[in-house]
């Protein structure tokens, strides 16, 4: 229909980027927030961007949603070229910012109707669509209250409703559950799954490992503006063969690390913030060996734990630091 659609390489690719970059100028020079991102998102999947705060997730999302012009690279979003046809992109996508975007003085229903009219619906259609969305997100009881009175979960649902108003093919959700209580978070996950079942493509960012694990069909791990790993959660975890043993040691950590690295059963070892992590083939047999070894060397073991590899281990291996810690430190 539009010229932009011809650019799309494959019919089932909803987002494709090549070398997408964004540099910000600051007083201390240029800062590269997004340092060349290549990714492809397929129609109908929930694609997750996992990374700590400041990794470049939001910047990438804002570029793809036409809010921020890229400093370099190319992207096709919902069949339209990002640079040549931003208006076409806007018509086809929904975007829900992390902070939302509702006026506390305005009622939920009015916000939805106004949004619908901005996408070209007439007054009657806008009223109907607003009622539909309110029912879909179970917001009827709050519909005619000012959004300033909404709970965090209600406001988040309204934000999503605003993003859905024009039946977009692709929905961007920036940190959809940050700041929500566990109950609202579970509800938001259900909502995302329901949208996916309806055939919508969803691109979300998160710094929660559980969220990426539970919700995303595929994910990309991003750190310092670069994608460091990409695949399904299972594929990513499979990169880390074996088990993970974490140790807390009082005393000379470096010496312990050097000692452990010499052991044949240790495939990889690293230390981060006082905790030693070992990647071993078989945790059950490695643990007694580690205990004997450290005991023999006169080192005092404070804690020891055995776990299956998590996305955090993937993250740690790729970036050298733990997402769990950086995420919590920032939150």
């Amino acid at each position: 229909m539009t010229e932009g659609q011809k650019i799309a390489p494959k019919a089932d690719t909803v987002i494709e980027t090549r070398g997408l970059r964004r540099t910000f100028k600051s007083r201390r020079g240029a800062v590269e927030a997004v340092a060349g991102i290549d990714l492809a998102v397929t129609k109908g999947e929930v694609f997750g961007f996992l990374g700590p705060n400041g990794a470049g997730k939001t910047t990438t999302l804002r570029m793809l949603a036409t809010l921020l012009p890229p400093s370099g690279g190319e992207a096709t979003v919902a069949g339209c070229d990002l640079r040549a046809d931003p208006a076409g992109v806007r018509e086809r996508i929904g975007y829900v910012a992390q902070a939302g975007g509702t006026d506390p003085q305005v009622t939920g229903r009015t916000e939805l109707q106004f949004q619908a009219r901005l996408y070209g619906m007439n007054a009657v259609a806008a009223r109907e669509r607003a009622t539909e969305i309110l029912a879909l997100l179970e917001l009827e009881a709050a519909a005619d209250r000012r959004t300033g009175t909404y709970s965090g979960g209600q406001r988040r649902r309204l934000d999503i409703g605003l993003g859905l108003i024009h039946h977009p093919q692709l929905l961007f959700l920036d940190e959809p559950t940050t700041g929500l209580d566990p109950q609202s978070r579970a509800r938001m996950w259900d909502e995302v799954r329901r949208l996916r079942e309806g055939g919508m493509t969803i691109f979300l960012t998160t710094h929660y490992l559980e969220e990426a694990d539970a919700l995303c069909d595929r994910l990309a791990i991003i750190d310092h503006g670069r994608i460091v790993a990409e695949g399904t959660a299972e594929e990513l975890k499979r990169q880390i063969a074996g088990d993970v043993v974490t140790l807390g040691i009082s005393g000379d950590q470096d010496a312990a690390l050097a000692l452990l690295r010499q052991q044949p059963f240790v495939r990889e070892a690293g230390a981060d913030k006082g905790i030693i992590r070992l990647y071993v083939d078989r945790g059950e047999t490695a643990m007694p060996a580690i205990l004997r070894l450290l005991d023999g060397a006169g080192m005092v073991l404070e804690t020891i734990a055995l776990a299956r590899p998590s996305l955090d281990d993937v993250f740690l291996r790729q970036t050298g630091h733990s997402l769990r810690e950086s995420g919590e430190a920032a939150a």
Partner: protein
């Protein structure tokens, strides 16, 4: 057509927000009347001073008051925009296909409408005190006020989008509007000022608007100062609108 429709939609939203806030409406009505009731009587005695322009105290003071209303009434509109930037409303609207120019003009139209209603109230309230104005003059005056409102609101929105914080917006606003106002001859005619002050006032565009307004209220509609004042305001408003519309469209990091 889409632009007009978008302007109308944005205008409706902000008009609804204004009407929904009884405090704003009350302040909007009371403020100009306070100037009229509490300041204008002082002028009665000054009007006899040599150098005071002809036309009677109210016909000299009310036009200045109207210009001041245009400046003060519209200069603060950026505050509401800063709150919206913080709530993410502007960003949300920028992802929709709405015209960026409409985001500005829809809001500015609401601001102008508020100003025009306030101005009419002020003129009506001044009539019993001896203000004289013809219908034709009043219409030109309202057009002049609309231009000042558009100019001031656009500048205010541009600064709000640029500064994004009340802490820097408020002092800048005050620092900028005060000399503009003092040197425009709004409060007292610049004909009373010493020559050096008159020279400084000559570079204040608002002074030309005040001169135009005074000529209008003296029923000298064909006076060159009227055309000059309207033209200067129209050109500045056009520049300010294009700046503000660009700011609405530009990405804000």
């Amino acid at each position: 057509m889409k632009l007009l429709r978008d302007i109308w939609l944005v205008f409706q939203r902000y008009l609804g927000l204004f009407i929904g806030n009884p405090v704003w409406v009350a302040v909007g009505v009371i403020q100009p009347l306070l100037y009229l009731l509490l300041f204008a009587p002082l002028l009665k005695s000054i009007a006899k001073t040599p150098g005071f322009p002809p036309g009677g105290a109210y016909n000299v003071f009310v036009p200045g008051l109207l210009i001041q209303l245009g400046l003060f009434g519209a200069s603060g509109v950026g505050f509401a925009l800063i709150a919206e930037l913080r709530d993410g409303v502007v960003e949300r609207l920028r992802v929709t296909p709405v015209s960026r120019l409409a985001l500005l003009l829809g809001r500015a139209l609401r601001d102008i409408m508020t100003l025009l209603i306030q101005s009419l109230l002020l003129v009506l309230a001044a009539l019993p005190f001896g203000l004289n104005i013809q219908v034709g003059g009043l219409l030109i005056m309202l057009a002049l006020i609309a231009l000042i409102g558009l100019l001031t609101a656009s500048v205010s929105y541009t600064l709000a989008l640029w500064l994004r914080s009340e802490d820097s917006f408020a002092p800048l606003l005050f620092t900028a509007t005060l000399p503009l106002l003092l040197l425009s001859g709004v409060l007292l005619p610049m004909s009373l000022a010493p020559t050096w002050l008159q020279d400084v006032a000559d570079i204040n565009p608002l002074a030309y608007a005040v001169n135009a307004a005074r000529a209008i209220f003296n029923n000298h509609l064909g006076d060159a100062s009227v055309a000059k004042g309207v033209l200067i305001m129209a050109v500045l408003a056009a520049i300010a609108v294009s700046m503000a519309a660009r700011s609405f469209g530009r990405a804000i990091a």
